[in-house]
């Protein structure tokens, strides 16, 4: 029999849990939902834009009635549950409606705190919590003139801004000496105050509300110093209180919230709780991002999968007031043992403070320029050591060699500005989709708009749009995210499992790591294939069907379905007879386009798939092997002419380049890998934007790592200097092997090094001589199995013939 799940609370946390549950176990429960409000599930965090007139109530509905119907959920709106009978396992609403449960989910959220002052019940005194409050404020704004907001925190300021936009005369009363003192230090708080004052909001700081004056309707507010402020509307925004009275009365253990375990279970194992009403490890959360993390874990347990754990959340704050950029996270005040790096530029209205302790970011306050907020937040949450980047920390990732895309502020862009250049998606389309479709994560925006789903270079901009549209509440993409939707394990966990448990087939990995799909997906299969290949060279049988078409067909698919062929030209040095052979192939097969590539090779474009083996056969006869221009593999070794010809050359760059290519060709890597060798510091081979670059100097070679000339231009970091060609080969092999073994699939060397830090790579490759030699040995061992020319194998028709011939020529 289907079990009964009853959800008390039709808000964001409760319904997100139901959504997650439906994804995992759509048929496990008959679900009944009780909501005290008369609405369907809506996006509470967008109440501020509704108040400010930037959105309509209909825009913020998350799940309409059709959604409840489609999933067979009985929704009781406008029915408040007044008691839970845990012995009978029933809940009863104020109107007598009763429902039985096998599992109960309590998601009663929180209530606004009402100051216990005389006059608090007068007409015209409202809170800022739900659509009814917003309605009351909008109505008041049409009829009256003076509004007073009590509370200068996040919610109060958003309310004040909204009422100002509705044409009211707004005053804010705040108990503390500066605004938002729980998120901002004095400097940022004062800058915020000035900015809001210039818009016309009046502030009364260090002001205690004594009384709300009026007969039936509010007329004013009296402060402790007897100041009286005229008011036709008073908004109480002094804080929220977790709403756990219902649970407490039912005898469920509560402290300052319903106490839950890391599985979101209360002390009664049949009863779960999520959202603002819970107290987890002594903490309450009032932002949506942590609630969504809770929802994911809770759903996992309700679905009886039962391995997810919630370990608490780190949160950050952004203010949703159009035109004011403000970000705060963590310990923004500093203190014992902390250091602060500060930038203050009053002329530009910019203030940044990063708090450091023990070489790690503890917190940050940004005002006026919040572009890098997400980056500081990541550094803080991940506990990343920042010694390597400390000198440029305050200027953001754009100044870490990660140039090209930094320094753009989305808040200032107009709606027609193109954000995603690959898919032609503008700012307006993204922000509309975020509100209209209720999107919260980067993945959701990618699925619905395609923005940032191709090359990914606009990911930062899209995340900023999420942050500015949703304020503090957007769910930042977790750094340690699952490999794909088929599993909850991260890349690193899967990899560790492969070696620790000697998993040698894809099936074994999927079973061990509890894959949810029978045969994975286009994201995980290529990754697993690579991880297995890297872990078990010579033992693992490559799975062609888990490779992207280019690697399966050993050629690059083009937009019309034809392929391109790039033969390897060692170090970019060729001969007349090789060129003649290529010319003959191009003529014989009527190849429409012959192009020189950036990697010093020749690209033959427009070859029909059926013709590939014949093209390869001719190229093989002329001595060519595959250039792997199609693979997550060693691509090219670009060289300059070097000391053999160049009057400036100090080293034989072509000779070394060819030797390096002979050593490294055929290796599969997490992503494409490019090498470059220059014969002098003029660096004509552009080695300092390669994954591994070698620059000749009089006394030997400089080795550079982690460069990239594509999506994001990144100059290399200097690894070290060595003296002989043999040294270069050893360091190169060891470095590539470290990258192969430790980078995540589809991670280029540049982001890999930014993630693990240059110090780490230096330690493994330069300082640890024995370790380097061991890595180099493993690289050479793996190459013994990898250096087989895939073209020659397929040209004979003995391998993968089915790939290149139709099943039937014609029917």
């Amino acid at each position: 029999m289907t079990e009964k799940l009853v959800v008390v609370g039709n808000g964001m946390a409760g319904m997100r849990t139901v959504e997650e549950l439906l994804k995992l176990a759509p048929d496990k429960y008959a679900i009944t939902v009780f909501g005290a409000e008369p609405h369907v599930n809506y996006n509470r965090i967008l109440l501020s834009p509704v108040l400010a007139g930037e959105k309509q109530p209909d825009d913020i509905v998350l799940n309409g009635e059709a959604w409840y119907a489609e999933h067979g959920i009985s929704l009781h709106r406008g029915k408040k549950i007044e008691c839970i009978d845990r012995r009978e396992r029933t809940v009863t609403a104020t109107d007598g409606t009763m429902a039985r449960y096998d599992r109960l989910l309590v998601a009663t959220g929180s209530d606004p705190f009402i100051l216990p002052v005389p006059g608090k019940d007068l007409r015209g005194v409202v809170t800022f919590r739900d659509l009814a409050d917003v309605d009351a404020m909008l109505t008041a704004a049409k009829l009256f003139r003076h509004a007073v907001v009590i509370g200068g925190g996040l919610l109060g300021l958003e309310a004040a801004n909204g009422l100002l936009k509705q044409g009211m005369n707004v005053s804010v009363i705040h108990l503390g000496p500066t605004l938002m003192e729980r998120q901002l230090d004095d400097t940022a708080g004062n800058m915020l105050k000035q900015s809001l004052e210039s818009r016309g909001i009046r502030f009364f700081l260090e002001a205690k509300t004594m009384e709300i004056i009026g007969n039936q309707r509010v007329k004013g507010v009296r402060l402790a110093d007897d100041t009286e402020i005229t008011a036709d509307l008073v908004v109480m925004a002094v804080g929220i209180r977790p709403n756990f009275e219902l649970a407490r009365l039912a005898g469920i253990y509560c402290e300052h919230g319903i106490v839950v375990s890391d599985t979101l279970q209360t002390f009664d194992p049949r009863v779960y709780a999520v959202g603002e009403c819970v107290c987890h490890r002594g903490k309450n959360y009032g932002l949506v991002a942590p609630l969504f993390e809770q929802a994911r874990v809770c759903a996992n347990h309700l679905a009886a999968i039962g391995y997810a754990r919630y370990g608490g959340s780190v949160t950050s704050t952004k203010l949703k007031v159009t035109g004011i950029d403000l970000f705060s996270a963590g310990n923004y005040l500093g203190g014992e043992g902390c250091e602060e790096i500060v930038l203050k530029d009053p002329g530009r209205g910019v203030y940044k403070k990063i708090v450091l302790k023990d070489n790690r970011v503890q917190g940050a306050v940004l005002y006026g320029e919040t572009l890098d907020g997400a980056w500081y937040f990541d550094l803080m949450r991940d506990g990343t050591p920042i010694a390597d980047i400390r000198d440029a920390l305050l200027f953001g990732p754009a100044h870490l060699g990660d140039a090209g895309h930094g320094g753009r502020n989305v808040a200032a862009m107009n709606d027609a500005t193109e954000i995603c250049g690959c898919n032609g998606v503008c700012k307006g389309e993204i922000t509309r989709a975020i509100s209209a479709k209720g999107l919260f994560t980067l993945e959701e925006v990618r699925a619905h708009t395609k923005a940032s789903s191709s090359c990914g270079s606009c990911t930062g901009l899209v995340e900023q749009l999420l942050a500015t549209t949703l304020g503090s509440n957007y769910s930042q993409t977790p750094k340690e995210k699952p490999l794909c939707r088929c599993t909850d394990h991260t890349h690193d966990q899967v990899r560790a499992a492969i070696t620790a448990n000697s998993l040698k087939t894809m099936r074994a990995v999927m079973e061990h790591c509890q894959w949810r799909t029978p045969d994975g997906c286009p994201s995980c299969r290529p990754a697993l294939n690579y991880y297995l290949l890297c872990a078990w060279p010579g033992q693992y049988a490559d799975d062609a069907q888990s490779r992207f078409i280019n690697e399966r067909a050993h050629a690059n698919i083009q937009k019309d379905g034809t392929y391109s062929v790039v033969p390897r030209i060692w170090g970019g040095v060729t001969t007349p007879s090789e060129l003649r052979a290529i010319a003959e192939v191009a003529e014989k097969f009527a190849i429409p386009t012959v192009k020189l590539t950036g990697g010093q090779r020749i690209d033959l474009l427009g070859v029909k798939k059926e013709k590939l083996p014949a093209v390869w056969a001719d190229l093989s006869r002329a001595g060519f092997v595959s250039g792997h221009a199609y693979g997550k593999a060693l691509r090219t070794v670009k060289t300059c002419v070097g000391s053999e010809w160049c009057r400036f050359g100090v080293q034989d760059s072509t000779g070394l380049g060819i030797a390096l290519e002979k050593m490294t060709w055929g290796t599969w890597t997490p992503h494409k890998t490019k090498l470059g060798v220059s014969g002098c510091p003029r660096n004509c081979a552009e080695a300092t934007i390669k994954d591994f670059g070698v620059v000749g100097v009089d006394s030997g070679w400089e080795l550079h790592v982690g460069g990239n000339g594509g999506v994001k231009v990144r100059a290399t970091d200097l690894l070290c200097k060595v003296h002989t060609d043999a040294d270069v080969k050893e360091y190169c092999g060891a470095y590539l092997q470290l990258y192969r073994e430790e980078a995540r699939y589809l991670e280029r060397t540049a982001p890999w090094i930014e993630r693990v830090g240059l110090s780490y790579v230096k330690q493994r490759i330069v300082e640890d001589g024995d370790g380097r030699k061991a890595l180099y040995r493993r690289f050479l061992e793996s190459q013994q199995h990898a250096q087989k020319d895939p073209w020659a194998e397929r040209a004979t028709g003995k391998i993968a013939q089915h790939e290149f011939t139709p099943l039937k020529a014609a029917v």
């Binding site: 699925a447 619905h448 789903s453 191709s454 799909t517 029978p518 045969d519 994975g520 997906c521 286009p522 299969r525 290529p526 062609a544 069907q545 888990s546 992207f548 078409i549 067909a553 698919i557 937009k559 379905g561 089915h802 139709p806 099943l807 039937k808 020529a809 014609a810 029917v811």
Partner: protein, 119 residues
């Protein structure tokens, strides 16, 4: 590059009155892979899933006409090699939130032979 691929397939003499033709042997299609059949009506891709079901779709992605036969087959879906749209093998419909439809043909397996209906 028209979006809809639901145009009429021209009946072919080889198909006979029943419309069923022999496509080939099951083991000629790689598991979690595809093969193509050239027909007078265009190219049709036959997909064999990991559970040995066979599906036939017109070999054009509803998005920009990419050859679906070249994509990665997973579950009862295929990911187009050009822009990674996913298409349901049993219906030819693009997986939400993408929208689109490619033509879908009946397939029958008898013993180790695969038959395809193209009219």
């Amino acid at each position: 590059m028209s979006g809809k691929a639901a145009e009429k397939i021209i009946p072919l003499s080889a198909a006979g009155a029943s419309g069923w033709v022999v496509a080939g042997r099951l083991d000629e299609i790689p598991r979690a892979g595809a093969r193509v059949i050239h027909t007078a009506a265009g190219e049709i891709a036959l997909f064999r899933t990991v559970d040995d079901r066979v599906f036939a779709l017109r070999d054009r992605c509803p998005h920009q006409g990419g050859p679906l036969s070249q994509g990665i087959v997973y579950g009862h879906k295929v990911a187009c090699p050009l822009h990674n749209w996913s298409v349901a093998l049993d219906s030819g419909a693009a997986i939400a939130p993408d929208e689109g439809q490619t033509a879908c043909f009946p397939v029958r397996i008898e013993g180790d032979m695969v038959y395809l209906a193209i009219c």
